[in-house]
């Protein structure tokens, strides 16, 4: 019984995250790559993403804090962030990065600052949600169940 409930919660929550655009099909691709021989694949990739993102956000903050902002360097960091968020399916983060890059092109420092705040916000949101989702996953596995897949978002 408990496993069923957990699985249902997991599916509901996943569906919500996809509908709200926090995650896209790429996240499903990651889930597909997880199996008995790689049971922690999603957790590993997501953890790498968290570490990497925190580093990038730090770099972005420093870059924008300079007297003379080096927009090329800034853009390089955003490009990286766009890449990593795209690779794990963090759609909203990726979309903010796209806007961010445009602002870098325009050398719009103020716009970039606003975008930085926005990307930090989106990152924290997706981080919280992914952590919750993965916790549910762990609970399912601990209760002996299989992690259900949302096929419609592949």
């Amino acid at each position: 019984m408990e496993v069923d409930q957990l699985q249902r919660s997991f599916l509901e929550y996943s569906r919500l995250l996809f509908h709200e655009g926090f995650l896209d099909g790429q996240f499903s691709q990651l889930q597909l790559l997880q199996d008995e021989s790689n049971p922690d694949f999603v957790l590993e990739v997501v953890s790498l993403f968290f570490e990497d993102s925190e580093r990038l956000l730090n770099d972005l903050t420093i870059a924008l804090d300079q007297q003379n902002v080096d927009f090329k360097k800034l853009d390089a960091h955003v490009h990286q962030f766009k890449g990593s968020s795209s690779s794990i399916g963090a759609q909203r983060v990726k979309n903010v990065c796209i806007a961010f890059r445009n602002l870098c092109d325009e050398q719009n420092a103020e716009g970039c600052l606003r975008c930085l705040q926005q990307v930090k916000q989106e990152y924290l949101l997706v981080k919280t949600k992914l952590e919750a989702l993965l916790r549910l996953e762990q609970q399912i596995v601990a209760a002996g169940g299989a992690i259900p897949m949302l096929n419609e978002f592949c």
Binding site: L30, L33, V45, H79, S87
Partner: protein, 185 residues
């Protein structure tokens, strides 16, 4: 150190500066049963392929494949990101195609940006495929024909006593590849 590996496996060298993408591509390649070596830069790739140490004069043709250090590295395909600090994927592609030793190794480029001129120049430079990131299983499935076509052809020599596990494998795919090689020659 295995000269002849117990199961014939294609060896793919993956090059990407993003740790996340490296993990991803490695996993994707492994689901296709490829052996994978992942490096984080073009320079490391060149080093691995033996293109950086020109002073290596050992002309012996020991068939032993050392997994990390120079020479005699058996790589069946190289898949590389385009945008990397230092030397780009395009530069890497060019260097590989300019090398008499390595030019026959199929190279695939990955990029997060869909820039037609970029795609064209890579293909013109000899890349077999250009994948848009994020790379998916369906992309990785496209690698097999390139690997099959080149199987058995390493460097310019075809000495029969060289380690060529692929030709000894009895699976129908491998047999087909061998026939193709014969036909093409």
């Amino acid at each position: 150190m295995s000269g002849i590996v117990t199961e014939t496996q294609f060896h793919v060298l993956a090059v990407d500066d993003s740790i996340i993408d490296r993990k991803l591509i490695e996993r994707l390649l492994k689901t296709s049963s490829y052996q994978v070596t992942a490096v984080d830069s073009g320079v490391k790739a060149l080093e691995y392929l033996g293109l950086l140490d020109d002073e290596d004069t050992s002309t012996d043709s020991t068939p032993v494949s050392t997994t990390k250090n120079h020479h005699e590295v058996e790589v069946n395909l190289i898949i590389t990101d385009y945008c990397m600090p230092g030397i780009t994927g395009y530069d890497l592609l060019r260097k590989i195609k300019e090398s008499t030793l390595l030019k026959d190794i199929p190279v695939v480029i990955m990029s997060s940006e869909n820039v037609p001129s970029r795609i064209n120049s890579c293909l013109e430079q000899g890349a077999e495929e250009f994948f848009l990131k994020p790379v998916r299983q369906s992309d990785v499935n496209k690698l097999r024909p390139h690997l099959m076509r080149k199987s058995g052809k390493r460097k310019e020599d075809h000495q029969p006593n060289k380690r060529k596990p692929m030709e000894e494998c009895m699976s129908p795919d491998r047999t087909r590849a061998r026939y193709n090689d014969d036909l093409e020659l």
